[in-house]
Symmetry: C2
Subunit: 258 residues, 2 copies
């Protein structure tokens, strides 16, 4: 049995207790602190050391109000002291190349995925650091649902695409911990092990039995927890419509050849 | 000026010293340790708490040898005790829905991006924990360049797509630290600030002046560092060809409607 280092142990403990924080108190989050966390997060691995990302910090109330509809008006957007939008960014690298007698060819889908990967890894390192500092944050998956609004509000040029947003501040009160699937559900050895009826019952049963999830089904008049996802939260119709919007935004930002 | 908590301070310090590790000594990495790190990493935020990812652990020498060509035969793949392939996974969630009288509609592009996002955030949390524990790792961006081979070797079913690979082990010796751009290059306030000739010189100048990068240009007979990227490492032709391959793999795995 390996021993766990103090840093890993402290981080493990912090992660096991983390929860999304949606309510913040009035204490300010300084630019000094943000820059310190951004600088450390930028040590994260990045493709060819190109750092294919940008982070847009929103503090202005009017800007937050303009972003809110793109995030289905979730109250954290206007309620948080800071909103950070993480973007896949090949603009800066492309401009650097053009200024240095090089001929960049990054207006394609592979380059978008490379840049999105860089941006998401950077984002998660930033989140881990911020939470270790005691900040609370909520990750908004809505960023890719209505990207056109975000692109307009943040004035993102061609080859810059928003991929993640967090709201950030000092937590007001305790946030509820949510459950997670056991590692057996998502760790595979050598080959992908297809889920079986038994493994699904084993991995999802405890979650389905939670009183909060049973209540959730009663309120929404569904027979199963899975139906909450398929019939209400992430329906086929919505996913298909938003796929069209997302591909359209990627085209607009120059990442999809026609 | 805020104080920095001990956990954040230790993590910040660890990140500032981190480097990709490509050579490993013979000490084994136990499944107990991996499971502990996977379990803590799974506390990372995830869309609707669905945990749209899987991690495939490769230890078998024949499996590593089969994966190696997909990673341009970089020696870390066969040289590391453990290779982990992180996958965007809507298969398990879809099977759960089908088993619970729900009608999933996740065979579309938006759902791929949602799952890839989950997988990459989870991957980065795992990497941060592993490095805090003293493990060394190298992130292989090649995962999305030749995904078909990886899909075959790991037997990934429909709705599972590889998005990241790391090689992992206990470091043999010191790994060289690479430089990073200053935060001014990638942090923006309120709106995206277009790069200017002056900001590019300011942000990229120190990197271009490094002796190792000047030597790199001499060896490759390029006038500028940027030309290394555009003419040798990530050419337009390669990026465009790999975009076709990647979209084809997404179609094969069921994530692109035709």
């Amino acid at each position: 049995m390996e021993t766990i280092t103090p840093t890993c142990g402290a981080l493990e403990q912090a992660l096991m207790q983390r929860a999304s924080v949606r309510q913040y108190d009035g204490r300010p989050v300084s630019d000094d602190l943000l820059n310190r966390l951004f600088t450390a997060a930028a040590r994260t691995q990045t493709m060819g050391n190109l750092q294919l990302y940008s982070a847009i910090v929103t503090r202005d109330a009017a800007q937050k109000a303009a972003l809110a509809p793109a995030h289905f008006n979730q109250p954290m957007v206007t309620g948080a002291p800071v909103v950070v939008t993480f973007c896949a960014d090949y603009r800066r690298t492309t401009d650097w190349c053009l200024q240095r007698k090089a001929h960049p060819g990054y207006d394609n889908f592979l380059s978008f995925v490379n840049a999105a990967t860089d941006a998401l890894l950077f984002c998660q390192s930033f989140c881990t650091l911020a939470e270790a500092e005691g900040l609370g944050l909520c990750y908004l998956g809505t960023t890719i649902y209505q990207p056109h609004t975000i692109i307009d509000v943040l004035r993102l040029p061609r080859l810059v695409m928003p991929v993640a947003t967090i709201t950030l501040g000092w937590p007001a009160g305790e946030a509820p911990l949510s459950d997670r699937l056991p590692a057996t559900a998502f760790v595979h050895h050598e080959h992908y092990a297809q889920p079986t009826p038994e493994s699904i019952d084993r991995d999802y049963g405890p979650r389905e039995a939670l009183e909060e999830n049973r209540r959730f089904c009663r309120i929404n008049h569904t027979e199963t927890l899975a139906q909450i996802f398929t019939d209400i939260r992430y329906t086929r119709e919505a996913c298909e419509a938003m796929s069209v919007t997302l591909l359209d935004a990627l085209r607009r930002q120059g990442f999809m050849a026609d």
